[in-house]
Symmetry: C2
Subunit: 245 residues, 2 copies
Amino acid sequence: MSDISLLREKPLAAKKGMFTPVRSKRTFEEVSSQIKRLVFEGVLKVEDKLPSEAELAKQFDVGRQTVREALRILELSGFLTVQKGFGGGSVIKDTILKKTTNLLLDAFKMEKITVEEFTAARLVIEKAILAEAIDRADERDIEILRQNIAQTKEIIARREMATDIGFQFHSLLAKSSKNTVFVILEGAINAIHRNLASRSLPNFRAAKKWVCVHEEIIDTLIKKDRDKAFDLLEKDILSARNALR
Amino acid sequence: MSDISLLREKPLAAKKGMFTPVRSKRTFEEVSSQIKRLVFEGVLKVEDKLPSEAELAKQFDVGRQTVREALRILELSGFLTVQKGFGGGSVIKDTILKKTTNLLLDAFKMEKITVEEFTAARLVIEKAILAEAIDRADERDIEILRQNIAQTKEIIARREMATDIGFQFHSLLAKSSKNTVFVILEGAINAIHRNLASRSLPNFRAAKKWVCVHEEIIDTLIKKDRDKAFDLLEKDILSARNALR
DNA sequence: TCACATTTGTCCGTATGTATC
DNA sequence: AGATACATACGGACAAATGTG
C-alpha cells in the first residue's frame, strides 16, 4: 500500500477552510477588482472621472464588453455612476451603503413577512436607535429634525401628502445615533415600510397626529427623557402598524 | 410677460417629491428586473435553470451583451450563479444575504463601520432575538440547540476548529424566535461576523469557553430566566468583540 | 436653431475556453 | 479521446444621448 492511498483514507484536507478556492477569476472580475483596489488605496477619489470605456479597454488590453461588465459590477456595488452623452462616463462615488440597503430590501422581498413580524423588529431597532440618539445627538441633529417637523407642518397645512417626509424623520433619527450599522438597518426597515404602506391610502388625520408625536420625541431627545421617548416611539410605531392593516 | 416666465420665476416643481424620476431604464436593467420579478413571484424557484444567453437574447429580443450585463447584475445581487462549460448556464439561487455582506465588508474596508458599531448593533438585535426565543422556542428548537452543543463538544474534543458551528448556534436562536425579519437580520450580522473573524486566528481556549456560555443560554431559555440570559449573551458577544481586535 | 464631437448603449459575427457526455 | 453545448471574450458597427460652438 502506498502513502497516497493512506492519505485518501484519511485526507488531511478534512478540516474545513484549510484551502481557499482557486476558481480562476474571469477577466471582467479582474478589471473590477483592480479599479476597486485603486479606490481603497485612495488613488481614485470621489468625483474622479474614469477614462472612457474605449480608453479603459485599451489600457487593460481587453475588449469593451469586458470593461462594461466590470463597470456594471462597480456601479451596482456603489463605487461609481455612469452617464452617457458628451462629457459623460464613469465617475467615482461612495454609495456602497445605499446599495447595501437595496440588496437587504431584496432579501426581505424574498420572504413573506407579516405586519406583526415587521412591527416587532421595527420596535426593537428603532428603540435602540432612539436610545443611542438620546446619548449622541448634537445641536445640528436637533436642528435638522426640527426642520423636518416644520416642513411636515407646511405640507399638511397645504393639505398635501406628508408620507415621504414622515419616513424621513426616522432616517434622520438613525443618523443622529451616529452608528452606521443602525443607519443601514433603519434604511432597510424604512424601505420595507414604504413598500407595505404603498398599498394603503394616505391619511391626513393620521398625519396630523404623528407629526405631533414626532415633535414630542424631539423634546424628549433634548431632555434625555428615555422612558417618555420610548413610550412616544412605541405609540408612533403601533399606530403605523394599525394603518398597515 | 407671459405665464411661462412667471412659472420660471417660481416653479411649481419646487416642492420636493412631486415628480418621480423618469430616467429611462437601460435595456439590461429592464431584463434583470423582469427576471427578478419572476423570482419574487415564485415563477422561478431556487435551482431552476435559465435558458442559455443566446436563447434569453432571442426571447427578450435583445442582444447577447445586454443579456450578459443583466446576468452580471443578478449574479452580484445573489439571485443566480453562472457556470460555464457543457450543461452550464444560469441557475437561480438565494444568496442575497451573502452578497449583502460582501458589500458591507466593502463598507468596512472604506472604514465606514467600526467593530464597536458592529458590536452595538449585534447586541441589540441578538438580545431582541433571545427575548423572543424565550417566549416562543418549543421542544424541537431546544432539541436542535442541544444537538448543536453536542456537536460542538465533539469537534472540540477532536481538537478541531469549531468556529462554524459556533456561528450556527446564533442562527438557530434566531429561528427559534419565529420571526423572519429577525432571521434575516441575524443572517446579515452573522455573515459579517464570519468574515471579520476569518482574519483572526481561531482560539481553542476561547471555543471551550463559549460553548459553555452557549449551553448556559439554553438553560436560561428553558427556565425563561430573561436577566440571566441577557447577561450570558452579552458576555458571549463582548468576548467575540475582543477576539476581533 | 443647428450641426458636431464624444461617450454610453446596443447589436452582430466570430473565435476560444471549458466542462460534461 | 472526441463531440457537444455553453459561457467568455474580442472587434466592428450603428443608435441614442448630451453638451459645445
